[in-house]
């Protein structure tokens, strides 16, 4: 349940900040974000900052990567694991 809320919040943030002209239905939870260039390095760090402030987590530099942040699904799983 918490994971689903995180996914929705992250999706809303990405649409608002980085894809303002995109139809919401075009951004799925499995859309590749980083490897497609939707999020560049600055945008990825912006998103990390959002996650840290919203969910009270700390993201280390080596954790900012494709492994944890390429899709909204992965981002939500990462946040949940950091909260555990």
């Amino acid at each position: 349940m918490e994971s689903e809320k995180i996914k929705e919040a992250v999706k809303e943030y990405i649409l608002k900040e980085f894809l303002p002209d995109e139809a919401p239905e075009n951004l799925s939870f499995t859309t590749a974000l980083v490897t497609t260039g939707i999020l560049d390095s600055l945008a990825t760090l912006d998103l990390v900052s959002f996650l840290e402030e919203t969910y009270g987590i700390k993201v280390a530099a080596h954790e900012v990567g494709v492994d944890h942040m390429n899709t909204i699904d992965e981002i939500a799983s990462f946040v949940v694991s950091k909260q555990a």
Binding site: T35, G37, G65
Partner: protein, 569 residues
């Protein structure tokens, strides 16, 4: 406080240690706003410990040590330690986002081969990269940062005091072959730059500097780290990644440490003005800052004014907004706006500027459709002279655009292993910067690049950097592309545009091909393509020597004359 001709960086570090061991040297400003100053004695001792560890792993005087590390405290210690033992540090940018920039291995292999690096230091989680490097370069010692966690004896570090004509350090700059070039700096050139900067910036004993730019960029390495360590100026460092995540940290560091001086590329000012909200600014006071230096990419008048206006209620004065031009080939800063006055702006007729190369001042002060604001980047530091030259190296009169050529005491020795590019850059007594500009009196006005370089967030890319990526994309015609940057004042830096021919035989949907261009560039180079345009096969001409004409296609793009089959923004 200029150096005598026999000195070296290391001799100056020693003098500072003896003169002011308990003076503040360096502190790292944490995301929670805390920081702890380290005295120069403490920093020297830690550096010597790191130096002893590097030495015990085979690094000695004159050897090259490559660091691919984020600009954190460990990186600063390791850099300083390598200098203390007379090694030649070379800082390489690590990926900001892990898993991207997959051509990094090729770049690192190229750098290690070119420099015959004795030691390479990587982050602990770069083991795969380290093992591959060790395999291809068995003579190089690959270390990971955890090697510095313990051990090492400061007293056993073989401290070295080089001669003024010995080499001091190496620095990467963008190349034209898809790989960076390696600038070679000797001791004298580095010290001349630092002396020139000190004079031009009018630095004094009460100055404190704040830096968020990375140590692998010459702005972080020379204009901040080396300048502060040699001139006795306390340096407040923010890890670059922390600034990018939360730019208000920069302002908090400036406010809470008594800082007076700071640096940023143009985009950093735009980024901060856009990202920082008023409610972040509680208790911020920027009234002590006498200089916000802007350099490393095109300086936009709007950026300077927007930043100053936004933070004026918190003490930022227009007279504190400063401009600079420099390049790695000159080691660091070359021209500086007036340390005691305002930066200079000219509003010139843009048609005459771009069509004829002549800067004719108009009467409009802003906004005229036919005028463009050109921000002056200042005057050369004392001891340097500048000439604007035509393609045959003849001097041009005031107001005429040509290549900015420096007669500079801080000239690099050359590009390591690259005589062709060195002989282009150093002709006669002049260092040819590859930058276009004009002069008015002593003031230099930067207008663009001779070579077709792209500048994204202060980092330079050459169009050739994209060739090896584009050639792998199914549907594109190999070698038939153009890549260029377009100034975007809204973001304070350039947008990257890639134009490519698509094969007649291509059967993939053009949208898929364009997605692939973005994805491959993001994955291999770690940057975002802002716009992709696909053209029909056979429509992109080259020069008579077979070279691509990136500038030509940039002009067509700006004029709206590129007949694209498809485009994606």
């Amino acid at each position: 406080m200029t150096h005598d001709s026999n000195k070296s960086l290391q001799a100056i570090f020693r003098e500072r240690l003896e003169r002011d061991p308990e003076g503040n040297a360096l502190t790292f400003f944490n995301p929670d706003g805390t920081h702890t100053w380290r005295t120069f004695r403490e920093f020297h001792e830690t550096g010597a410990r790191y130096g002893s560890i590097l030495s015990s792993n085979g690094l000695s005087r004159g050897n090259v040590c490559v660091f691919m590390l984020p600009s954190d405290e460990i990186s600063a210690n390791a850099l300083f330690g390598s200098l203390l033992i007379g090694a030649l540090p070379l800082m390489v940018a690590p990926p900001v986002v892990r898993g991207l920039h997959s051509n990094l291995k090729d770049v690192l292999e190229h750098v290690v081969s070119t420099t015959s690096a004795r030691v390479v230091v990587l982050e602990d989680d770069e083991k795969d990269l380290g093992e591959a490097l060790q395999k291809s370069h068995p003579e190089t010692c690959v270390l990971y940062i955890s090697v510095f966690q313990k051990g090492g004896d400061p007293a056993s570090a073989p401290l070295v005091f080089p001669e003024s004509d010995d080499l001091a350090a190496l620095q990467l700059t963008s190349g034209t072959t898809g790989f960076p070039r390696v600038c070679v700096w000797d001791q004298n050139a580095v010290l001349q730059t630092l002396d020139g900067m000190e004079l031009a910036m009018k630095l004094g004993k009460d100055d404190i500097c704040v830096n968020w730019t990375p140590l692998y960029h010459d702005m972080g390495l020379i204009n901040n780290f080396m300048l502060c360590m040699t001139k006795g100026i306390p340096l407040v460092m923010l890890e670059t990644i922390n600034f990018l995540k939360k730019p208000v940290l920069w302002l908090q560091a400036l406010s809470s440490t008594g800082a007076t001086v700071t640096w940023s590329p143009n985009f950093g000012y735009t980024f901060t003005a856009q990202r920082v909200r008023d409610h972040h600014l509680k208790d911020i006071n920027l009234g002590k800052i006498k200089a916000f230096w802007n350099a490393a990419e095109r300086i936009h008048l709007d950026t300077m004014l927007t930043f100053q206006k936004k933070f004026e209620p918190f003490g930022v004065k227009l007279s504190a907004m400063k401009t600079n031009f420099g390049c790695a080939e000159n080691v660091g800063g070359a021209t500086f706006s007036d340390a005691d006055g305002d930066f200079v702006v000219e509003h010139v007729n843009k048609h005459r500027l771009f069509d004829e190369g002549i800067a004719v001042r108009g009467t409009a002060t802003n906004g005229g459709a036919d005028t463009v604001a050109i921000v002056g980047v200042g005057r050369p530091y004392p001891g340097m002279t500048i000439q604007i030259q035509d393609a045959d190296c003849n001097p041009l009169p005031d107001g005429h655009v040509g290549e900015i050529a420096l007669d500079t005491p801080s000239r690099m020795k050359g590009y390591l292993g690259n005589e062709e590019d060195t002989s282009y850059a150093i002709r006669g007594k002049y260092l040819h910067t590859g930058d276009y500009g004009y002069m008015r009196g002593e003031e230099v006005f930067w207008t663009g690049r001779v070579r077709e370089r792209i500048n994204l967030h202060g980092k330079k890319f050459d169009p050739s950097d994209f060739e090896s990526v584009l050639v792998q994309i199914d549907g594109l015609r190999p070698g038939c592309f153009a890549a260029f940057g377009i100034d975007d004042e809204k973001i304070g830096t350039q947008r990257l545009v890639i134009v490519s021919e698509v094969r007649d035989s291509n059967e993939r949907p053009l949208e898929t091909v364009m997605d692939d261009v973005r994805a491959q560039v993001a994955t291999h180079i770690g940057i975002k393509v802002d716009e992709v345009l696909l053209l029909p096969q056979g429509t992109m001409t080259k020069t008579s020597s077979g070279k691509r004409r990136h500038r030509f296609y940039r002009e067509l793009y700006l004029d709206g004359e590129l007949a694209a089959l498809a485009e994606q923004r």
